[in-house]
């Protein structure tokens, strides 16, 4: 209706493309101090001694802080996990020992950044090396324990079992076994790194300008951590250059800046992360190993059961974890209709950078796993990849998954048809056949994925029944300003998604005005009273939580305006209409020129209220709306319940050729079909699809956070990490279908994470290209050197086995 569904030009872009955005690091003022963090060069070591005297003596240095001092002034951050997680002392700085390379061991606040770095170099730290554990399975042996008080590296274990798994395997026509698969470690590396400015004021409160993306959560951790009341933390964001979940746990660094400001007598302290610091210590994506996977199939190639053991590697601290141990189960069966599943899920800490909820968080790991299963079974059973999917896709909606999640809407076969059309499936089949005859390693692959959005925080109780979290919510405050402007404040922290634009569209539709007449304040501010504990931008939810809050607030404001107008125009409320007249936005009596404009209404309430009747005493034209999705607390015993409100879907198809000469995987064609329900702003959605796709292609082909056996990060610069850039992004053919969600007021579904679709798609296409060479793709990273190794030693014999029951026997 109206503005919804149109590509209104992004309001934010005017300031951003002119270089007039305000990112945290842009804020500079005389007298401000700059923070440098001295980080551990070792992954696991005891801190024997720290000598800061020389650093403190350097002119221009305001203060130096070490772990001891931090520990004396802080409470360890709250842990989400059940015992033994409560024994993990998570402080913003290492105290007696370091557990990952890059962990802060001291900070210096000085007059300039360069000076702070000079001083940090003068800090003398003596380390006693400890054995590092970098592989998850090795860590689980507890050979070397990171958090000694916890007594183990294992942070969580649980079994997710649904349906009749044993029965399904007993009755299976074939069983496919895949002993080991691995999802690699990478991160979405936003253009703007973490940054914050902290000021410990004379009143004992702390002022933050930062780019934290989940301030509702950060405040709850920081306040007790800094021994302050929540209201003593004033947290603000403005323009943010990408987040992708990576900025959720920069509250750790906010604490360090705050403590440095406190020690420096309340001077403002700025910290801006460098790229190498970002790669070393800002948060990585979860790494996951899948062991002893078994898949039961019926005679027609329909998957009836899956069982497997998953080990998640969360790096050195649990921070947002072990939430990842349940988040994946939002998409337990992926897009497939199997009813019997048993996943034994374990998580461990390792001496690597802690993980963050990176774009596609924990779900893409599960979706990749399921897509691998589908493709490996298809190849081994000789079923074409598209047919295999059509046999197994869920087709009825709303659909309740075996673990109680409700997929709101979707049409996967239609997406597949559209994807095939976009890429030219039939033509490629012929070209691939011809290419293979000529000896080329060329293949086509499909990746279907889900982007579950608006999560039910009640799922946290599945990892720890005692957590006081459930549901979800978001806030919008809105008022008719003193001069009649519509001013909107959001509880979200936009970081490039165009929230100012989309929110304006929604308000404009409710009030019947132009989006340019709606002013949405940039950024987030706790002082606006526009936040709840869930406030922030994460987990693909703005289109549902954020916009539902905006919509609700606009309705409330409209109701007040209607009452006010009815009184002033001496008309019945139902005779009024909203729109724009000669004097700007107004409310008028239908079919007449009797109208009252916004300025007049605002002035009545704010300046001229003796004109008003007593019955309008509650009309303030200043409203607050909290949207709460309809969730119940899940059954933690059965691990059952609706964990997410909406399920956007992506279906990607790629044609990839692996060079016989160089092993370079080259994308010859790429199609991305998206379904995020009703589109609010198609151009913004398209941009999100493009970005998520690029991120996924980068992760699949280029990006890997590789550690050596001592826990030394080998990819700590962009020259080594090689994030994807425009030069490596193939042309992406974009398609869209809309299956409106029945669960959101506007039919929209949260989107933006894309569930890592390209990761599944690349694995599928590469497997298709290399299957003839005896290769089964069991890893998610496909750089040329890795493809070289696998082509040298084709793995099909160890990577998969097929048992066919009754009649014909399998290959092995």
């Amino acid at each position: 209706m109206g503005w919804t569904g149109t590509s209104v030009r992004r309001k934010e872009d005017d300031r951003l493309v002119r270089g007039r955005g305000l990112f945290t690091d842009d804020e500079l003022e005389p007298g401000m101090l700059h923070l440098h963090i001295l980080r551990s060069p070792y992954a696991h070591a005891r801190i024997v001694r720290i000598d800061t005297a020389a650093a403190e003596a350097l002119p221009g240095v305001a203060c130096v802080l070490t772990g001891r001092e931090v520990a004396a002034q802080c409470e360890p951050f709250m842990q989400i996990g059940p015992p033994p997680c409560d024994k993990i002392r998570d402080l913003p700085m290492a105290v007696d020992k370091v557990v990952f390379q890059g962990e802060p061991v001291a900070v210096v606040a000085a007059a300039t950044v360069a000076l702070a770095e000079d001083a940090a170099q003068l800090i003398d730290v003596e380390y006693e090396m400890l054995e590092a554990v970098v592989e998850a399975e090795d860590a689980l042996s507890d050979r070397s324990i990171l958090h000694e008080a916890a007594g183990t590296n294992r942070t969580w274990q649980g079994v997710f079992e649904y349906g009749d798994v044993e029965g399904a395997f007993r009755d299976a026509a074939s069983v496919v076994r895949i002993p080991r698969m691995k999802f690699h470690r990478f991160a979405s590396t936003p253009l703007e790194p973490n940054a914050c400015i902290a000021e410990w004021t004379r009143q004992g409160s702390v002022e933050f300008l930062c780019n934290n993306s989940f301030p509702g959560f950060a405040q709850q951790l920081l306040a007790p951590g800094l021994r302050l009341k929540a209201d003593q933390l004033h947290i603000r964001t403005y323009d943010v250059g990408g987040s992708f979940g990576n900025k959720i746990w920069n509250y750790v660094y906010m604490a360090l800046a705050a403590l440095a400001s406190k020690k420096a007598g309340g001077r403002r302290v700025k910290w801006t992360e460098t790229r190498t610091e970002h790669l070393l210590g800002s948060g990585h994506g979860n790494e996951r190993t899948y062991l002893d996977t078994e898949v039961a199939l019926d005679r027609d190639g329909v998957i009836t059961a899956v069982r497997s053991r998953h080990i998640d590697d969360c790096g050195a601290y649990t921070r947002y974890e072990p939430l990842g141990c349940v988040i994946w189960s939002q998409v337990l069966p992926a897009t497939y209709k199997l009813r019997n599943m048993r996943i034994d899920f374990t998580q461990t800490v390792t001496n690597k950078c802690p993980v963050v909820p990176n774009r596609g968080y924990s779900r893409m790991q599960q979706l990749w796993f399921m897509e691998r299963i589908v493709d490996i079974c298809a190849h081994e059973l000789g079923i074409p990849a598209d047919e295999m999917r059509l046999k197994n896709y869920i087709t009825q909606f709303p659909y309740e998954t075996p673990n109680g999640c409700v997929y709101d809407s979707g049409n996967y076969p239609a997406m597949l048809a559209k994807g095939k059309e976009l890429i030219g499936w039939d033509r490629w089949q012929r070209e691939i056949a011809a290419g293979r005859k000529a000896g080329r390693l060329i293949g086509i692959g499909i990746g279907t994925t889900l982007d579950s959005g608006t999560n039910n925080f009640g799922q946290a109780r599945i990892v720890n029944p005692f957590l006081p979290f459930s549901g979800n919510s978001e806030v919008c405050t809105m008022r008719l300003d003193i001069e009649g402007a519509v001013v909107v404040c959001l509880g979200t922290t936009p970081s490039g998604q165009g929230h100012e634009t989309s929110a304006s569209q929604v308000v404009a539709d409710v009030l019947g005005i132009d989006p340019s007449m709606v002013y949405v304040r940039p950024g987030f501010d706790t002082a606006w009273n526009t936040f709840v504990g869930h406030s922030g931008t994460y987990a693909s939810q703005f289109a549902v939580t954020g916009l539902s809050a905006v919509h609700g607030a606009a309705q409330k404001l409209k109701a007040e305006m209607r009452r006010l107008a009815a009184f002033m125009l001496e008309a019945a409320e139902e005779d009024l209409e909203f729109g724009t007249g000669a004097q700007g936005p107004e409310v008028r009596v239908k079919g007449t020129d009797k109208a009252i404009n916004y300025w007049y209404m605002a002035n009545l309430v704010n300046n001229n209220n003796a004109m008003l009747d007593e019955s309008l005493g509650d009309v303030t034209l200043n409203v607050r709306h909290v949207y709460r999705p309809p969730f119940k607390v899940p059954d933690t015993e059965r691990k059952f319940g609706n964990l997410t409100l909406t399920y956007a879907a992506q279906l990607h198809i790629a044609v990839v050729e692996v060079s016989r000469e160089t092993c370079r995987p080259q994308v010859l064609a790429y199609a991305a079909v998206d379904d995020c329900g009703t589109l609010i702003n198609p151009q913004i959605a398209h941009g999100q699809v493009h970005g998520a796709t690029s991120h996924g292609i980068g992760a699949a082909l280029m990006e890997c956070l590789d550690y050596d056996e001592t826990g030394n990060l080998l990819t700590a610069t962009f020259s080594d990490y090689c994030p994807i850039t425009a030069l490596n992004i193939p042309d992406i053919a974009w398609g869209n279908i809309e299956t409106p969600s029945p669960f959101s007021y506007n039919g929209a579904k949260g989107m933006g994470e894309g569930g890592g679709a390209p990761l599944h798609t690349m694995s599928a296409a590469i497997q298709d290209a290399l299957h003839g060479a005896g290769v089964i793709v069991t890893g998610s990273h496909h750089s040329a050197p890795r493809l070289f190794e696998i082509l040298q030693q084709p793995n099909r014999d160890e990577a998969v086995s097929v048992e066919r029951r009754g009649g014909k026997q399998g290959r092995r």
């Binding site: 080998l714 030069l727 490596n728 070289f788």
Partner: protein, 297 residues
């Protein structure tokens, strides 16, 4: 990410620069485009006391060629070389210049700095070895020339003496029937190549009378693959001959394992790149226009 403090000097002339470098001694470094040096300083791998900026010394950035040969001043940037008529006339030079890093790096980085850095992954030392170029130097003891082949002696070590600067490079124009190609393989623009290969052949039809092959990122310094050259020189080129040369080049390489791949992978790349380089050189010798540059991923 911030260098340790240093003093900055801007040299007005070559002699001024040499004088300052000699006068300051140990702690001084010449600064050209800064695309290698500043990275080291920012990471604090190196903490010189003084930087002598040679970047504005006039007359050191000329790109000239006549019938006798080519002369490129030490301060010519990768970007300027890439856009120069020379890059069109001698395509192997364009291959190299265009393949280096991204626009930003190419706009500042210089050919002299690339040689002086002594980095086994830098492209110019490999190209100049392939072309049998001469390096022109001037130092406190006066001017001298050194062959590009062997100019980089060891990891980050060159034959330059203390206070000595590169003023330029020169090489002969490839003769009739002589053509070359420079090919590299890298993961993305701002990454150094995983492997790179320069090939220059003198051909009479398919008969190869002379061959020069140099390898980058293949050992601790640029190496010349003489055994591979021997496989080609004096032979009629065919798939077998080329394969033997490629194999010999791969065998001559001694790559280190790192982020970019295992030694086995890098050897296989060298094998592939030699074949590709020979192929392109052959086509160019026949008068075809072939665009090649570094390959990504």
């Amino acid at each position: 990410m911030y260098p340790a403090p240093f003093r900055y000097h801007r040299a007005a002339t070559l002699d001024d620069a040499i004088g300052r470098l000699v006068g300051i001694g140990e702690g001084a470094r010449a600064l050209a485009g800064g695309q290698t040096l500043l990275v080291w300083l920012k990471m604090r791998f190196d903490e010189p006391t003084d930087l002598v900026d040679i970047g504005r010394i006039p007359g050191l950035d000329a790109i000239e060629h006549d019938t006798k040969g080519v002369r490129i001043g030490a301060l010519a940037t990768h970007a300027r070389i890439a856009r120069s008529p020379l890059a069109k006339q001698i395509p192997i030079v364009g291959d190299c210049a265009n393949g280096i890093a991204d626009n930003q790096v190419r706009s500042r980085g210089t050919i002299g700095g690339s040689l002086a850095a002594g980095d086994p992954s830098c492209d110019w030392p490999v190209l100049l070895t392939t072309l049998d170029a001469t390096v022109h130097c001037r130092g406190p003891a006066g001017a001298r020339t050194l062959p590009a082949d062997g100019f980089v002696q060891d990891l980050y070590a060159t034959r330059l003496e203390a206070g000595e600067l590169i003023t330029g490079v020169s090489f002969a124009l490839p003769g009739k029937g002589s053509a070359g190609a420079y090919v590299g393989f890298k993961r993305c623009a701002p990454a150094f190549p995983t492997s790179s290969v320069g090939v220059q052949l003198t051909l009479n039809g398919d008969d190869c009378t002379q061959a020069r092959i140099a390898l980058g990122s293949a050992a601790l310094t640029t190496i010349r693959a003489q055994a591979a050259e021997a496989e080609l020189s004096g032979r009629t080129l065919n798939a077998q001959v080329i394969a033997r040369a490629a194999e010999a080049a791969a065998a001559a390489a001694d790559p280190v394992p790192d982020q970019r791949g295992s030694p086995a992978f890098k050897r296989s790349l060298i094998d592939a790149l030699v074949k590709r380089g020979v192929e392109v050189a052959r086509r160019r010798a026949r008068g075809e226009t072939v665009e090649v540059s570094h390959e990504y991923y």
